[in-house]
Symmetry: C2
Amino acid sequence: MTTTRVKHEWVREEILQHMSGLAPDAPLPQERELAERYEVSRSTVRQALKGLADEGRIYSVRGRGTFVAAQRISKDSRLTSFSEDMQARGLRPGTRLLHVDQGPADAEATERLELAPGSAVLHLERLRLADGFPMCFEDIRLPAHLYPGLLHQDLERPLYGIFASSYNMRIERAEQKISAQILQGRIADLLNVPHGSAALLVVRRGFDEKGRIAEYARSFYRADRYDFELTVSRSG
Amino acid sequence: MTTTRVKHEWVREEILQHMSGLAPDAPLPQERELAERYEVSRSTVRQALKGLADEGRIYSVRGRGTFVAAQRISKDSRLTSFSEDMQARGLRPGTRLLHVDQGPADAEATERLELAPGSAVLHLERLRLADGFPMCFEDIRLPAHLYPGLLHQDLERPLYGIFASSYNMRIERAEQKISAQILQGRIADLLNVPHGSAALLVVRRGFDEKGRIAEYARSFYRADRYDFELTVSRSG
DNA sequence: AGGACCTTTTGGTACGAACCAAAAATGCCT
DNA sequence: AGGCATTTTTGGTTCGTACCAAAAGGTCCT
């Protein structure tokens, strides 16, 4: 049993490994057999399968069995960082820090971050690169009290990594609003596209495990280089 | 015990009711007490709590307890039709049928619908309206063999309704690719926007419960009137 | 053949017991 | 009072059993 400390995680990985050699809709061994094979109880197997089903990697039909899901495209809509997203697309992520400061919240930040008027807000602007070329312009607002001393960190490193390691802050959930925009002026120049080009604008509010607002970000993606893929289902 | 057939769903609803009078971060009774109160096993309570935690309505800390999360939007990304979508936004949906024909699949349809070259494909173009004004231009390709006689139906009615009632076809899952585009020419005119305006382009492949490709559609939404909202989470 | 009925397979629900691990509360010693 | 060790509380993991419910397959009668 490798490095994982809990059995259901280990079983999960064993099943994933087993699945890698299987075609979509191929049946997995039945639960009672998996339990015997891995020498765990059926409950533990079911715990592992539940997790995989939640992620859309397998599906179960009562009376028939459990099958590997078609997995057509990028899983279902899971929260991913820019870095993870680019790596999944086979691109090397990069960051250029453009601007950073701290000041009192303006009207928009007050509303989006649900802070008291005048609360300290951190403001970052970053250009995100894919294989060295501009992909996305980010405008980020953070409640300063959650990230004391953030300005002295290396802000060209992945933000979510800094959040986790220095502030024990993990963004668990996000509301995203996706719209289309015409790029003009500074942002068009930064992204190195002609004025009047199209961009995907993703406005995101991130929440930690307690439901606190941990981030408000607007990201302008070059429409010629980026699209947003997700699979949706009717029931869940 | 009300109408729900399984206990953990009933317990879930009891807990939700109990939570409705609680402030964010207020502690729930401990698991063993809930089990006693509702006269179920602790496992059943945990199953109910797991579901609520997955949805971000509560969070648990080992050694401390379980607490109600600050709840925001519960709208997860469900598969919705244009009509449902508009109704959710308080707009009256409408349809203008622009074009319909049937012919052999071109290269793109062959690939996206995964058909044999030359298979019969239905082609629809529709303008979707919100409160009578253009919102979206749809270009739809369907495998003709799944919808015999579709051309004789009233194609200004909701398509998913026709699919369900006449062909027993329910689209259960869809892959969507969202990107941004500049509108020019005919589509700009149809949507009644200046050439060079931005649009959200949603390319969707719909699958039925057996995983068959049931639809391939490209929808151009006016960027000034439409955006795409979803909440994503990290684990489940 | 074809349909009604039973049996088997397989995932879903529920129980209760035992133990683990993190956090908090208690108590003791100085 | 302050600090350290111990106990208690509380969610997390694992086990094994029993039974339910949907699907599939087989059986038997007509």
